[in-house]
């Protein structure tokens, strides 16, 4: 049943993109590792690490789109799930350092030693095991999303109210993780990682492996998301986004619907964070910053929300732009990026995917069922007496 379900996800354009992702997951490490640096097809280390990072961003954007694009839950706190996944992975990596830390303490991470901690806090136990870590990568963000969603959706918190409390959530976590007393290294976060599963992190091969893992994770998540949105459940998602109370009158348990996608999405975000951390070598509370979560929303909007490929494109485009601008126009890049955001909103109202769709439409006369749903009208514009 599961495989049949997933197979449904592998249709149309998604199948192609998934195949492409699987291909680069294999090909990029190959081109990076086995070709000589001066070979025309060689992919430089720098590009591998850069794009490895982008892939995790893309996964995060995809996760957000599942709740925002399809279910209308504008989470301004998705960065929190990403960061939690990152911290889980960071804790594992910290514990892998073992006695190789600067103080040579076999158990305590360095930051605990110099702040005079005597023993490992209970919540650090188990993270020396990879299987446990793997479990926690999904469990921690998933649980937070579940508990948060359970209350919020049951209380029928919607719209901006929901957005703002998700922001409050990530902001509170930001402040909490900044606190040194929390035992997560405060502002400096977790750093100085040495190896993952026995592979040295500062090694091209490991990096290529992480790239590959990120591409596969994205590929699988894409298929899963596609399977979800193509099922009848996907239609319920959209129905919920559009007219939540109407869906209730049809007998759908809207809070369960939301809770399910919210939790699945948080887990995907956690996975993205977990893959991100070993690639960038640090996790710090800054990842909880509300601005980060807003940026994810922006990637998604730029790519085209309510499409699965859009957020992937958006995340990669914006970050590529950012990487490029910050080096090419270090003093003026904010003008460029800001103008880009404004321009996309004005001229590509449905993002890159929307623009591509309308270009395609111009060529093919026959109008297909629109896949980019129109964004709902604001609460203040609604009137009338029905539901």
């Amino acid at each position: 049943m599961i495989s049949g379900f997933l197979f449904r996800g592998l249709q149309g354009r998604i199948a192609w993109v998934a195949a492409a992702l699987a291909l680069i997951a294999v090909l990029v490490p190959f081109l990076n590792l086995s070709l000589a640096p001066d070979h025309a097809l060689h992919i430089p280390d720098y590009a591998v690490s850069l794009f490895g990072k982008y892939l995790t961003y893309a996964l995060l954007a995809l996760a957000l789109d599942l709740v925002w694009g399809y279910c209308g839950i504008l989470s301004l706190g998705h960065g929190a799930f990403f960061a939690l996944g990152g911290y889980v992975m960071g804790m594992y990596l910290m514990r892998q350092i073992g006695s190789r830390g600067v103080y040579g303490d076999p158990i305590l991470p360095d930051f605990m030693v110099f702040l005079n901690w005597k023993e490992l806090p209970w919540y650090w136990f188990g993270f020396d095991q990879f299987w446990f870590t793997l479990l926690m990568i999904f469990a921690v963000p998933g649980l937070l999303a579940f508990v948060f969603g359970w209350f919020a959706f049951r209380s029928r918190v919607t719209g901006v109210y929901l957005s703002i409390i998700t922001q409050a959530m990530t902001y509170a976590l930001l402040l909490a993780f900044f606190r040194n007393d929390m035992g997560f290294g405060g502002n400096n976060g977790l750093t100085d990682f040495k190896d993952i599963l026995g592979f040295t992190l500062q090694n091209g091969g490991t990096r290529a492996g992480l790239f590959s893992a990120s591409a596969f994770a994205l590929c699988l998540s894409l298929i899963l998301s596609s399977a979800i949105v193509r099922s009848r459940f996907g239609k319920v998602l959209i129905a919920t986004r559009e007219a939540e109370s109407r869906a209730r009158f049809l007998g759908y348990r809207v809070e369960h619907v939301k809770l399910f996608v919210f939790t699945v999405s948080a887990m995907m975000a956690g996975l993205a964070g977990a893959l991100y951390v070993p690639q960038v070598g640090i996790i710090n509370p800054g990842e909880f910053a509300p601005a980060n979560s807003i940026e994810v929303v922006i990637w998604t909007a730029i790519g085209g929300r309510g499409t699965l490929i859009g957020p992937i494109l958006g995340a990669i485009t914006v970050n590529l732009g950012k990487s490029w601008f910050t080096a090419a126009l270090p003093e003026y890049w904010l003008f460029a990026l800001g103008a880009l955001f404004v321009a996309v909103t004005l001229f590509l109202p449905k993002g890159i995917m929307g623009a591509m769709a309308s270009v395609r439409q111009k060529f093919s006369a026959k109008k297909s069922a629109p896949s980019d749903p129109v964004i709902g009208t604001p609460a203040t514009e609604q009137s009338g007496d029905a539901s």
Binding site: V160, I164, A168, R246, I302, F341, V342, T345, L346, E381
Partner: protein
């Protein structure tokens, strides 16, 4: 605090007074010249010697030393009193009063003082000032003596107590006397008891400290009186502390209100998720800076009032930016509120960088006018002027806005347009104009808030970012679209924050407030002042 001539005059008078008793024969020119020699840490001893002289000219020298305007000439190490006039200095010989004008800074070197030296000077000079003819100086001297508890001052105070006519100073002198009495070992119990009762009426932490240090035989009258006084003061203090805390909460609330009130229009009323709101506040703050600079150049006399000029200027500047923003971008996005988030985020990046490019990345100095500096002591409360002004200013802005929105035809049109733009147009309302006006108004108000906020915080390109999250929290917590909600929401969050802070610390306190907001929204999913009824469902 510069030394007025009056002090010198009264020092002459003092020659006949008790201080003269302690005056010693001192080699004045030599001692003054000594100030220019040696290291800073040896200077205290030299100052002590000068103070002993009791010579009125010494007060001037020492005051200038404390103020950092005492220099010596590099060529001959001669010490001078200085006054800066334009780019040059006028030098005055401290002993002869002979003046040399137009000296360049490069010929001179400042004689440094540090805090402990300044304290020594202040304490020493306060003895002189106790008999000054200027009541302000006597008042300050009494306060200084209260802190220094210098027993030498006792006879001076007693002499002055006989002559003093101003009640306020009289009580300060009594307090200073009590402080000395209580901190010296060999005082009669009657004097001590009197001192205790004076301190008990005075109250406050200073009194408490003195009383706690009183040493007396257990069960003695002094010990009992002390104990009673301490309990009484502590009780009063705890009440005042609570009141003070409420004030802090109200004051923080008023800052939140100011920060969010413009957003209550652009987001609350218009539904634009205005991520550039903070930057409108920033524009207001930079306008304040610019106006202040201009005033300093063109009308230095009005510097104290540059804020008043800045208010309309900031309103117009931020309003104009808002107008351009609305006409250029927002108007294409009505009905697509989520896209306004994206576009205004882009705008906020551009505005930040624009300000960084024009004004540079670092903080700009906005001076507090004198009427917004310092604090007023009110019973057990200490209220700083800038917070008081900001509190009332926030309420005034709120009140005006409330009237505009609820009581004027324009307000009605604004609300109609934002609820149903097409229908409003069909009712004959010029919707583009109303949209532009509303957005400009919200932005302008944010700008005005920036004027006030420049008085308590940074004026930097990041200014907007530090308010944006709080602003959204307030508007949403209060209930989107409800102006009262914004008011009550801001005040509630401010007070809650200030009541949590003492227990939890600033960091945890803030976390608790956020958690409180999250939980509160569960109870009231549409904010504090939710719009109710059919009209809002779905």
């Amino acid at each position: 605090m510069s030394l007025p001539r009056a002090l010198i005059a009264c020092l002459f008078f003092l020659f006949a007074a008790p201080v003269a008793v302690s005056a010693q024969e001192v080699d004045l020119p030599g001692s003054i010249a000594q100030l220019a020699q040696g290291k800073l840490k040896d200077r205290a001893a030299k100052v002590e010697i000068l103070l002993k002289s009791g010579d009125p000219r010494v007060a001037t020298v020492l005051n200038q030393l404390a103020e950092g305007t005492l220099y010596y000439r590099k060529s001959d190490k001669k010490v001078f009193l200085t006054e800066k006039t334009g780019k040059t200095y006028a030098l005055t010989d401290p002993l002869t009063g002979e003046e040399i004008k137009d000296q360049s800074k490069s010929n001179l070197k400042k004689i440094k003082a540090n805090n402990s030296l300044r304290r020594t000077i202040r304490d020493g000079l306060s003895l002189f000032a106790l008999s000054s003819s200027d009541p302000d100086e006597r008042m300050q001297a009494a306060e200084t003596v209260f802190k220094s508890k210098d027993p030498i001052a006792l006879p001076l105070i007693e002499a002055r107590l006989l002559k003093e006519e101003i009640a306020e100073i009289l009580s300060l002198l009594n307090q200073a006397k009590s402080a000395i009495v209580l901190s010296s070992a060999d005082m009669p119990d009657t004097a001590k008891l009197e001192a205790i009762s004076i301190l008990r009426t005075m109250g406050g932490r200073g009194a408490l400290t003195l009383l706690s240090a009183v040493e007396a035989a257990p069960k003695s009258a002094v010990a009992q009186a002390t104990q009673l006084a301490i309990t009484s003061i502590e009780r009063r203090l705890s009440i005042w502390d609570a009141v003070q805390n409420i004030w802090y909460g109200l004051s923080l609330g008023s800052v939140l209100l100011l920060a969010s009130i413009g957003l209550a229009i652009t987001f609350g009323v218009m539904g634009v998720i205005n991520m550039a709101h903070g930057e409108m506040v920033m524009i207001g703050a930079y306008t304040t800076f610019a106006v202040q600079q201009a005033v300093q150049i063109f009308a230095p006399g009005l510097t104290d009032y540059s804020l008043l000029l800045a208010l309309p200027a900031a309103f117009l500047a931020a309003g104009l930016v808002g107008l351009i923003l609305e006409r250029g971008i927002i108007r294409f996005l009505y009905g697509r509120p989520l896209e306004t988030l994206l576009a205004t985020w882009g705008v906020s990046l551009v505005l930040q960088q624009t300000v960084r490019t024009i004004f540079g990345p670092s903080n700009k100095e906005v001076v507090n006018p004198s009427w917004m500096s310092g604090a007023v002591e009110l019973a057990g409360l200490s209220l700083t002027w800038n917070r008081i002004w900001i509190f009332f200013f926030a309420l005034a802005v709120f009140g005006l806005l409330f009237l505009l929105l609820k009581r004027t035809p324009m307000g009605l049109q604004m609300r109609a347009v934002t609820q149903n733009r097409k229908m409003a147009s069909s009712m004959g309302i010029r919707t583009p104009w109303v949209d532009a006006f509303t957005f400009a108004l919200g932005s302008g108000i944010a700008g005005v808030a920036g004027v006030a906020l420049s008085q308590i915080g940074n004026v930097s390109p990041n200014l907007g970012q530090s308010y944006i999250i709080d602003s959204f929290m307030v508007v949403v917590f209060g209930g989107v679209g409800n102006l009262w909600g914004t008011l009550i929401g801001a005040i509630t969050l401010g007070v809650a924050n200030k009541f949590l802070e003492p227990f939890a610390g600033a960091v945890l306190g803030k976390i608790f407030v956020l958690v409180f907001i999250i939980l509160f929204i569960q109870k009231r999913p549409r904010g504090l002042f939710a719009l109710k009824g059919r009209s809002v469902e779905q």
